[in-house]
Point group: C2
Chain length 374, copies 2
């Protein structure tokens, strides 16, 4: 499972800049990352917790993240690979989740997430998250969890009925633990996930209230203002299972095939016919990725009045996507050849994250007056 | 909160033997415990997990444990002070739970639990238990938890209705984590808690099934064959809130007061009247604690035919209880004066328990094929 092309959309310019600076190794020359700057960037005091599910049932969660590259410049960014949470609806197939952890991590590194700026960590390597979840579960009623609109929708979508796994019902609480453990003030989520942030803040208020001071921090949802890229078939959502995606790992051939299959204007049969630009996926993608705005405007005008064939549009798009994806693919390939480098990044990030999350756990436990052995 | 007298009942003879051997310090002479023998007793391969709640809303859980002293001779015994679980219905009052951890620990040490034979550990100091709980929650449905008879009864008893804390609904899963983390084969529980062991074994089977071999171990409930001691007012259950208990920490005066208030035969007004022995709490306690069986039989006969006053019976009982409780009280007092000794025992036991529980977590995660960073 790989990141979808959508994830690269608004990274585009930043990404290219990073590419040229070459902060992520693209060769076999044995480049190692230095983490010296990572643990503390005092000028970036706003903390951002970006979660990514390691289950291919929710690829959109990753594809929908709009600004990880920009945010690592402006925030103290934690990127949490939520493998434990992915099990809440994949307990029967943990192997899939296991594979995805490294895939997802290398996707993010490939698009330009810099482990010197972003702490990349693995949820299951942070026991404090499970401990905080267990604690928070005592501050939320079952009725409240069942009222959560996101959970209600997802239960319906997955057809769980009454046989919903208990872990799935409780996952908004685990989410609250993830967010609060990092003391995140900003959490990038899709619009449909805003109720999960509300649930987190409820728990924060309840616990702070009991303590009598603000030990935990309320978080704000960062909801992308622009919609997602459509699938290549024109459907609103890209989905690997529907085969309407371009993966970040796509080869030149796969890019060509995807662009060839791309939904355009079904009534635009001959190059000389006038065509429609609205809902034409090839143009939507050009809008997203072609930096030469004037050229795109000109192409649209020609397409509308007739005289521009689909193939000409698609060839231009294909070239742009190839330029965009080639270095990403190269960097993915680097980590595929050097999995120990990837693991080192995750180990180092998780070590940093462990210190942060355990400090929060300890602070909350002490403030609540719980028993502490050490 | 202290252990109730009932806990001492069937420990009686063992307890006295231990007292004479003096393995638990009763003086201020600075005796320290040696733990050398604790971590591994290879001849005791049956593992027993004894949980004790650190909430005074369930004092009976501790009082009902019948055989901790005997079991530490025959089993690899873990005594888990379940402070995290006590929060599932005490989140509003964590201070009470915190205090109880040390109280309960010193109660057990006072009646003769030997940290060289029993691993005494604190639930909240064992992160692997929270991690296993989070994992197991994915293998149990909400509907299954709601069907659990113990949970149903307790929800009714506590008047939770729909506002049941999520942690409370999930506690049978946390219980499964506790039991399986120690690979316990035997779990002492009250009769009403047998469904919790069934729930544990269901999870064990489901996970072993998915793995394809027996990584987790099924446990057997050890249900006391003899009922509990009644309260001093003749009610079936001793309860601190009802004031019908004799605490293990009771002073001589408190013992005298409790025995004086003890329910006997309300129709036995004069010593010369014939009296009833059945349901007469003074005699029930003599049955439990007086080792001179012949004397008790003789007393019962005299009481029945008339000519034996309640006071004579009670004076005998008072003397016996004082003899029983004096050394227990002394040892409790020792730990009250030396809390660091007590904490050292809990730290050492928790260290041992951490190794055991983390090994299980690691084994389960590997067997399920989950992602592992190290």
């Amino acid at each position: 499972m790989a990141l979808l092309l959508g994830a690269a959309r608004r990274h585009y310019s930043l990404f290219n800049r990073r590419c040229r600076r070459g902060t992520v190794g693209t060769s076999d020359s044995g480049t190692r990352y230095s983490f010296a700057a990572a643990p503390n960037r005092r000028n970036r005091h706003e903390r951002l917790c970006r979660k990514t599910y390691c289950s291919d049932r929710r690829p959109y969660d990753r594809a929908a993240s709009p600004r990880p590259l920009r945010c690592q410049e402006t925030h103290r960014q934690f990127l949490l690979l939520a493998d434990a949470q992915a099990l809440t609806d994949n307990a029967h197939d943990p192997e899939k989740v296991r594979r995805n952890v490294l895939e997802v991590a290398s996707d993010y590194l490939a698009v330009g997430i810099d482990p010197e700026k972003t702490t990349i960590c693995v949820q299951s390597a942070l026991p404090a998250l499970a401990e905080l979840t267990m604690l928070y579960l005592n501050f939320v009623t079952v009725a409240r969890l069942e009222r959560n609109p996101t959970i209600k929708d997802e239960i319906r979508a997955r057809g769980f009925g009454r046989d919903i796994p208990a872990g799935f019902l409780c996952y908004p609480v685990a989410q609250a633990a993830d967010i609060t453990a990092f003391k995140a003030t900003v959490v990038p989520v899709g619009e449909d996930q805003a109720p999960l942030i509300e649930q987190t803040n409820e728990i924060v208020r309840r616990i702070n209230n009991q303590i009598g001071r603000k030990v935990l921090v309320e978080a704000e949802a960062m909801i992308p203002r622009v919609g997602r890229l459509p699938g290549i078939d024109g459907k609103a959502k890209m989905s690997k299972s529907q085969g309407n995606v371009i993966l970040l790992s796509a080869s030149s051939d796969e890019i060509r095939q995807a662009v060839l299959q791309m939904y355009t204007d079904p009534n635009h049969l001959r190059a000389s016919d006038p065509g429609t630009v609205e809902g034409n996926v090839a143009f939507t993608y050009l809008d997203a990725f072609d930096e030469d705005r004037a050229a795109v405007t000109e192409l649209k005008a020609r397409y509308r009045r007739g005289g521009l064939g689909d193939m000409a549009v698609k060839r231009r798009l294909e070239a742009i996507l190839k330029d965009l994806l080639a270095p990403i693919r190269e960097r993915r390939a680097f980590f595929a050849r050097n999995p120990e480098d990837l693991l080192d990044i995750l180990r180092e990030g998780s070590r940093t994250a462990r210190a942060v999350t355990e400090a929060t756990l300890k602070e909350v436990r002490a403030a609540l007056g719980l028993f502490q052995l050490e």
